[in-house]
């Protein structure tokens, strides 16, 4: 018999039973909820007259819909205010811990889970948000679910799931200077397309992945969904354990030792098999940008917009032409934030690049920390000063212009170089044109006012 993959190991530990020819009853260790995809689930519970089954395994925060300035004031937008208030009422009624607006732990759900030590190796984690795959960086099976499934988890701490196929993506070799994990994942997405991993759960391996920090690994796993995958994971190692140790909800003392022993079993056996495998060479990866309207439409920053009949609609929306070089193109907005790139390391990188420089006059540059804790840390390190002096607007935590639900939107027809994960039509506001890139590329672009190869500035 062949060995098991990391994914198989964690999966098998959580299957309670299987329906013949159907999905499995799959146990969930941790559940995150936020204001946008949970209200209908709570309504469902009320209609069925049932309670939350394991309230202490669910954690809530307000992130998608919150303003990123003046968070101490009541939310101006009536509908947003109502939604955030509804979340608070639901958490109160059903006994769920809420890190709401103003709380020291509030932030984007996929930033706060890891930073509080709630996210741990071997866990199963779900949230009504597709980027739940982020938590896979710790060797957890983490995936996004719809609101009906949120209701399932609230009601029974289980979801019905079919086991996905297994995909291995291996990246080997050292990364060049100025190339970040965001470039790795944009590169992979450009190779296997926006639907290339549908039906699969990815394991990322290889020396280039191993060498990454936890935050950089989260950026990779975060975008698994952009290739259609259910999720992506990375086997935990010393880097992982080091990161978790001492965090608020991390195991302590004897429990820590027990946990470590369990976590060290979480790897793919040498003789385990995958349904699909890819291998990439880190030496081929350079700063990447997207030119189209899905994250798979990426190119090396030095390349020209590809000429293909498949691109016509996307290029029309983006106002680009085949053969055009994006490098040097004028840009009016830079957005640094989202669950992909809003952690302290991202802010440090940006600050180190812009220190002593000034953003270009034609650019509005917004930096949105992923959480209250990131914001605090940035202030302690003086990053806020550096950013403000360079003309960047450091705002308060939330999803912000990643999805344009609050007032942080990009005006129609204008370009925004964004560190977020989706360049769909209208994602950052109706008609907004999003170019996905790494935090360094975004920062460099803000400084010159044009799409810039960061390698020229460092």
């Amino acid at each position: 018999m062949s060995g098991k993959t990391l994914f198989d190991k964690v999966w098998d530990q959580h299957v309670i039973s299987e329906i013949d020819n159907g999905p499995s009853v799959f146990y969930i260790d941790r559940h995150f909820i936020h204001e946008v995809t949970s209200p209908q689930a709570f309504d469902g519970l009320r209609k069925r007259n049932i309670r939350v089954f394991r309230p202490d395994q669910t954690v809530a925060t307000a992130d998608h819909n919150v303003p990123t300035i003046d968070q101490h004031l009541p939310i101006k937008d009536k509908l947003s205010r109502f939604q955030v208030q509804k979340l608070a009422e639901n958490c109160e009624e059903f006994g769920i811990q809420l890190y709401g607006l103003g709380h020291q732990y509030q932030g984007i759900v996929h930033v706060i889970g890891p930073e509080l030590g709630i996210t741990q190796p071997g866990f199963t984690i779900v949230c009504g948000d597709s980027h739940t795959s982020t938590h896979g960086a710790f060797g957890a099976i983490a995936f996004g679910i719809g609101t009906s499934e949120v209701e399932q988890v609230l009601a029974t701490q289980c979801v019905l799931q079919r086991k996905p196929k297994r995909m291995k993506i291996e990246v080997n070799g050292p990364l060049a200077k100025g190339v970040l994990s965001k470039d790795i994942i944009l590169y992979i997405a450009s190779k296997i397309s926006t639907s290339g991993a549908t039906g699969h759960f990815i394991e990322y391996t290889g020396s280039a992945i191993r060498a990454l920090s936890m935050e950089a690994r989260m950026t990779i796993c975060n975008m698994s969904i952009e290739m259609g995958a259910r999720g992506g994971m990375i086997a935990p190692d010393e880097t992982t354990f080091e990161y978790i140790k001492g965090r608020k909800f991390a195991p302590k003392d004897a429990e820590w030792d027990q946990a470590l022993e369990k976590w060290r079993q979480l790897y793919t056996d040498d003789d385990a098999e995958f349904d699909t495998s890819y291998q990439f060479d880190a030496a081929d990866i350079v700063p990447m940008i997207t030119y189209g309207t899905n994250p798979g439409m990426g190119i090396k920053i030095t390349e020209t917009v590809p000429d293909s009949p498949d691109n016509t609609k996307a290029l029309e929306y983006m106002g680009l032409t085949p053969g055009e070089l994006l490098l040097g193109k004028e840009v009016n907005h830079v957005f640094i934030g989202s669950c992909t790139n809003s952690r302290i390391e991202d802010l440090r990188l940006v600050a180190s690049l812009v220190q002593g420089k000034q953003k270009a006059d034609n650019v509005q540059a917004m930096v949105i920390p992923g959480s209250k804790q990131v914001e605090q840390q940035a202030k302690q390190e003086g990053l806020d000063k550096i950013l403000e002096e360079a003309g960047f607007h450091l705002r308060q935590p939330g999803c912000s212009a990643c999805l344009g639900m609050n007032e942080d939107k990009v005006p129609a027809g204008e370009y925004c170089v964004s560190t977020s994960n989706r360049n769909f039509e209208g994602r950052q506001g109706p008609g907004a044109r999003t170019i996905l890139a790494s935090p360094l590329t975004a920062a460099a672009t803000a400084i010159t006012g044009r799409i810039t190869d960061v390698r020229e500035l460092i």
Binding site: I16, T37, G146, R422
Partner: protein, 194 residues
Amino acid sequence: MEPLNIVRSTCVPLPAEHVDTDQIIPARFLKATTREGFGDNLFRDWRYHNDGTPKPSFVLNQTQFEGKILVAGKNFGCGSSREHAAWALYDYGFRVVVSSFFADIFRNNALNNGLLPIQLPEAYVQELLAAIERNPSLLAVVDLPQQEFKIEGGQAIKFDINPYKKSCLLQGFDDIDYLISQQDKILEYEQNKI
């Protein structure tokens, strides 16, 4: 959930590929706290200009096309996990979406809400789209018990559906009803785990 059995209807063609859930229902319309009413903003930015006037070129604004069956290009429903996309399609009046490929989360969300995703071969979907364009009053029949799709008077083509999901749809029974019936096993699992 409303049971679904046989659907006989004209079809609405949407040949676009990779239709993501941000197009189906843009994020700025996700502020409601109930499941109803999302149909008004279905495909909002394709359907309306910024000032709210309809875009005549979009299929939902073309009166010759209507019905309970949406026929779409491949990789339908990719992107955000928002179940609001399934609610919006359902609320608008669709009961079936036909495509040659569905994104995973969308497929699940649709099935959980009484909206049937039918995956058919790419060539068939292309022909179907062309046939609807030629004759918008073409009637299609979806027979869930038989797992068949056909243009009335034409050859039926089989489609796959998970037997469990099929029985749920036929009975209007949902996953939560099932999971709640499994509570003893769940408790037992929790006990053994520690």
